[in-house]
């Protein structure tokens, strides 16, 4: 590996990250300079502008870069894989910001400045997680996201729930981080490098050279640690409590952006470093020996998430369990490991992002209005606002995987792949739990259409929330009818096959 002068890199490819960093810094300084009583709504719009600007440069990178661009031996890496995830993060945070503006108007959170720049730093952490191929930067990104989220969850200082959930989040997050770091230390100890592409070769040497147990131990620890971020079994218990206590836009952020970032890192790290392991017979260890364990985690998440959701009366907790189940579904491509696992997971995550953000926007509206997070607060919603109720129905159908929605195509795609790889029991669990999930998703639908509400007064619908709801509902529906457009876009612009060391061994 040749050492390059730090100024010899073309830093313009890092503009998306640098812009977010710049805006976060500027916002924190502005917040200091502004008077105590000044309305900080302007910060929200600034943050949104930063996110959009950053998104533009991600698109510019997609167009101008034909091959991955690597900084400092892959400490940072601009590639199709990262770009795809960055677009997901940026749109997620943009939605979060729009929702937040409407949330703030109700005056529950007074510390607006922190709120916005912490969202941006969390976003920066997520972006680093998606665009790095080095243990150290991956970990830094993970921590940046985690620490920002801990604070965001606890921002409602005077709420008991918020304090409880923030505390739980910190403690369980800390434990999970310890697991991840412990696993990484074994990886470094065995491989002597933090670069993922080099690790891929070194770990396979170590595996063949009698250290198989330690390699697998490292794998297990990293998987357990990272299952926290994606709220999959065995580190899923925090989700219901934290989701319940956090402000609703932050719940949406955790459920979508933070989880997606977790997946970005899971795929990059585990796939990048462990793909090269070869069993004595010549087969791939990752595909043959480890994928059953991933399947078990996926199946357990689906079963626990979907069955626990049945009993919830608090909608946020229900969404948390539903999110655990969704994490199980998104792990399916990782368990089945085809060369297209990237397309599958990105498509599913995209569908999940649309449906979740739409659903959380509706939740926020309803909770605000009813001052309650119970299932009953949805009663009679259809009569109060048909538009919102119909949109919510689309989101729920998409999450349940019923045609004609994006969620159906996403699930169908995972399912095709699982059956094609003869993972029959996993596909059976997938289908069975989907049917179970009908029950609680339709429970909300039942409330909206079939139960009389406490009031018939029209639901106030702020413009920003309406924008998010209509946009996500339309997109969910359209993608459900013409999914080909998304597949083509992903294939044409992200082409991830050269982003993983194991596939082309493009290590430098």
């Amino acid at each position: 590996m040749d050492v390059k002068d730090i100024f010899s890199y073309n830093w313009s490819y890092l503009l998306p990250e640098l812009i977010i960093l710049g805006f976060a810094t500027a916002l924190s300084l502005l917040d200091l300079a502004m008077g105590k009583r000044t309305n900080r709504a302007v910060l929200a719009w600034l943050a949104l502008a930063g996110v959009l600007l950053s998104g533009i440069f991600v698109v510019v990178n997609m167009v101008t870069l034909n091959a991955p661009y690597s900084y400092m031996a892959d400490m940072l890496r601009v590639d199709g894989y990262g770009n795809a995830f960055k677009l997901l993060f940026l749109s997620g945070v943009a939605f979060t910001l729009i929702l937040s503006v409407c949330y703030m108007k109700q005056g529950e959170i007074t510390h607006q400045g922190e709120y916005y720049y912490l969202l941006l730093t969390a976003l920066l952490g997520a972006m680093v997680m998606a665009s790095s191929a080095d243990l150290i930067t991956l970990f830094v990104g993970l921590e940046l996201l985690s620490l920002s989220s801990y604070v965001l969850v606890g921002l409602r200082k005077k709420s008991l729930n918020a304090n409880e959930s923030s505390f739980k989040y910190v403690v369980s997050g800390g434990i999970a981080t310890a697991f991840t770091l412990f696993g990484m230390s074994y990886m470094y100890g065995l491989g002597g490098t933090t670069n993922l592409y080099l690790l891929a070769d070194r770990l396979s040497e170590a595996y063949a050279g009698g250290y198989a147990f330690l390699v697998l131990l490292a794998f297990a620890f990293v998987v357990i640690g990272l299952s926290f971020k994606i709220s999959a079994v065995p580190n899923h218990m925090w989700a219901p409590d934290v989701y319940q206590g956090a402000p609703t836009p932050i719940t949406a952020f955790l459920a979508v952006v933070s989880k997606t970032a977790g997946f970005a890192m899971v795929f990059r790290l585990l796939f990048g470093a462990f793909i090269g392991l070869a069993s004595p017979a010549g087969g791939s260890v990752l595909m043959e020996n480890l994928s059953p364990y991933i399947s078990v985690i996926a199946a357990a998440s689906m079963i626990i998430g979907n069955t626990m959701a049945l009993r919830q009366t608090n909608v946020k907790r229900m969404m948390a369990y539903s999110g655990i189940a969704q994490a199980g579904y998104i792990l399916v491509p990782f368990a089945t490991l085809t060369s297209l696992f990237f397309e599958q997971s990105v498509f599913y995550l995209f569908a999940y992002l649309l449906a979740s953000f739409g659903a959380f926007a509706v939740l926020m509206l309803v909770f605000r209005d009813q001052q309650s997070e119970e299932l009953k607060s949805f009663a009679g919603l259809y009569h109060r606002s048909p538009l919102v109720a119909v949109a919510m129905t689309i989101f729920l159908l998409s999450m349940a995987g019923i045609p004609v929605t994006a969620g159906f195509i996403g699930k169908f795609y995972l399912f095709v792949s699982a059956i094609l790889q003869h993972h029959y029991w996993l596909s059976a669990v997938m289908i069975a739990t989907s049917v179970i999930s009908y029950y609680y998703y339709f429970g909300i639908i039942r409330q909206m259409y079939m139960r009389p509400g406490a009031t018939e007064a029209p639901l106030p619908l702020p413009k920003g929330v309406a924008f998010v709801i209509v946009l996500t509902a339309l997109a969910t529906f359209v993608v459900g009818i013409v999914p080909g457009a998304v597949f083509d876009f992903v294939q044409a612009h992200f082409n991830p096959s050269f982003d993983f060391g194991g596939m082309t061994s493009s290590s430098k």
Partner: protein
């Protein structure tokens, strides 16, 4: 040439009404009803066009449409290699599905007329009603597995609402039961479809979802593409499909959801449910279950006959002891669907014809029956047999039609029920005489329970409160006369149905092993 997209036009034509309804204010009840009813005339006219242009001599799919729809890239475990699965939008009809589309259009229009008694939330009701129509047309017109599945699921969601919002007192539980049973059925169906898609390539070796190509591949003797497919997998697939469609039909242990729906859903929706939705199960069983796996179906035929017998007798016996007219008819439906199974179990051309005749005939008869129940409910607010009685005095016309419907249902010669039961049993007698003999008991029982129920409602002492009840209004007379007309038409001129069937069944039947005429 409009023929090339006529099926899509029929399937999507209810959208016109949906769009118009969406712009009518919801307090304009009269206008909403008119649009809701007039909207169903569009698919009706188009489906008559389909009927008129259908070529009886052609055993193949007609009005075929094919557009490239989704191209899914799929990877294999050897990293890097990527191939694409293309899923087409494919429509087409043959002699089996064409009559079903016409049936759907007719019953759709009449059920819309019957919806005049819906009192609340008319706008949503008619929007969902038309969505349901789209799903049903699509199921019968779809020519590939994914499209079939999507339309099949598309009927699920509107039905859930239609039962859950406009049903009787226990409507929500009925809607949930409906959703869960059918959800399980769809799940099993999806698994089976995908395994078929991924393990059974078309004749040319490419993966395909097209009905015709799959059936051809599976019936090619010693197909080299199928050497890796074990016979037990094929049998398992057939069994999974049998269960999936059996839940819809419904076959005996899976029937409880259907009783709840029959009792709780509003009469206009039960007309559709009993008249068409149950038939989707029979259609799927024939087109996909037996159509793809004739050998496996043949091996399973004895069990199919046993299950059919259980349906026939269990339904008939339980119908006899019911106190609620709706329950009598619900069990009667189970009994009659048993005859469809018996016709399939015969595995010969006559049996199949009987089964399809039964599907269509029961569609008309049960739609008529439930229409009448709705009409009677309007006047008496009950469907309990013990509380009714002597209706013939105050409503002679309605009672007369009810008696006629019962006659059709119990198989009086000259009406459609006779032809279908006769053909189904004729087919079965040729191969399984003992079972057929036992099955005919069901016909006798049918006569007993239907006459008991109908006579007790129409004759005998009449409670005073029904003294002033009016006989049928013109808007009620039309559906009764039309439905009765079709029942008698099929009864005295069965060729209207058997002609299109004949050629198509020739196409399905020769691949059944051990075929008798």
């Amino acid at each position: 040439m409009p023929n090339s997209y006529l099926l899509s036009l029929i399937t999507l034509s209810p959208l016109v009404a949906i769009v118009i309804l969406a712009f009518v204010p919801k307090n304009q009840g009269g206008i909403l009803k008119q649009i809701g009813i007039l909207g169903t005339l569009l698919p009706l006219v188009l489906s008559f066009l389909l009927f008129a242009n259908f070529n009886y001599g052609d055993p193949h799919m007609q009005f075929v449409e094919k557009v490239n729809w989704i191209s899914i890239p799929v990877g294999n475990p050897q990293m890097g290699e990527v191939f694409s699965f293309t899923i087409n939008y494919e429509m087409g009809v043959d002699g089996v599905s064409m009559p079903l589309i016409v049936l759907t259009a007719i019953i759709g229009t009449l059920a819309a007329v019957a919806s005049w008694q819906i009192k609340k939330r008319l706008k949503e009701y008619f929007i969902l009603f038309h969505l349901l129509l789209i799903g049903m047309f699509g199921v019968f017109a779809a020519q590939n597995l994914l499209l079939f599945f999507i339309f099949f699921e598309l009927t699920l969601v509107p039905m859930y609402f239609l039962i859950g919002i406009w049903g009787y007192s226990d409507r929500e539980r009925a809607a949930n039961t409906f959703l869960l049973y059918n959800g399980v059925g769809s799940a099993i169906m999806l698994i089976a479809f995908l395994i078929i898609y991924l393990t059974i390539p078309g004749v040319n070796g490419n993966p395909t979802m097209n009905f015709g190509e799959l059936a051809a591949a599976l019936s090619t003797p010693n197909n080299p593409m199928l050497q890796h497919v074990s016979p037990s997998l094929l049998f398992g697939l057939f069994l999974a499909l049998f269960i999936a469609f059996g839940i819809k039909l419904p076959v005996f242990p899976f029937h409880t959801w259907m009783l709840k729906v029959h009792v709780q859903a509003p009469p206009s929706i039960v007309m559709i449910h009993s008249g068409i939705l149950l038939k989707m199960g029979a259609y799927g069983l024939l087109r996909i279950g037996i159509g793809f796996f004739p050998e496996q179906a043949y091996q399973f035929a004895t069990w199919m006959a046993v299950l059919g017998l259980i349906n026939v007798l269990y339904g008939a016996v339980l119908a006899f002891v019911q106190k609620d007219l709706k329950m009598v008819l619900a069990y009667s439906s189970i009994s009659h669907m048993g005859i469809v199974l018996l016709g399939f179990a015969a595995m010969n051309s006559i049996g199949f014809q009987g089964a399809i005749f039964q599907v269509i005939s029961h569609g008309f008869i049960s739609a008529l029956m439930f229409f009448l129940i709705g009409v009677i409910w309007e006047r008496t607010e009950t469907s309990m047999i013990s509380e009714l009685g002597g209706l013939a005095k105050s409503m002679p016309f309605i009672s007369g039609v009810l008696l006629a419907a019962a006659m059709a249902s119990l198989g009086l010669p000259g009406m459609s029920g006779f032809i279908s039961e006769f053909l189904a049993f004729l087919g079965l007698f040729g191969v399984k005489p003992v079972m057929a003999a036992v099955g005919t008991l069901g016909i006798i029982l049918t006569a007993v329970y239907l006459l008991r129920a109908v006579l007790r409602t129409t004759f005998g002492p009449m409670p005073d409160r029904y003294q002033g009840a009016a006989d049928a209004q013109p808007i009620e007379v039309i559906p009764m006369v039309v439905l009765l007309g079709f029942i008698i038409l099929i009864g005295i001129y069965p060729a209207v149905l058997s002609e299109p069937l004949q050629e198509t069944l020739k196409n399905i039947v020769p691949i059944v092993p051990g075929m008798g005429g």
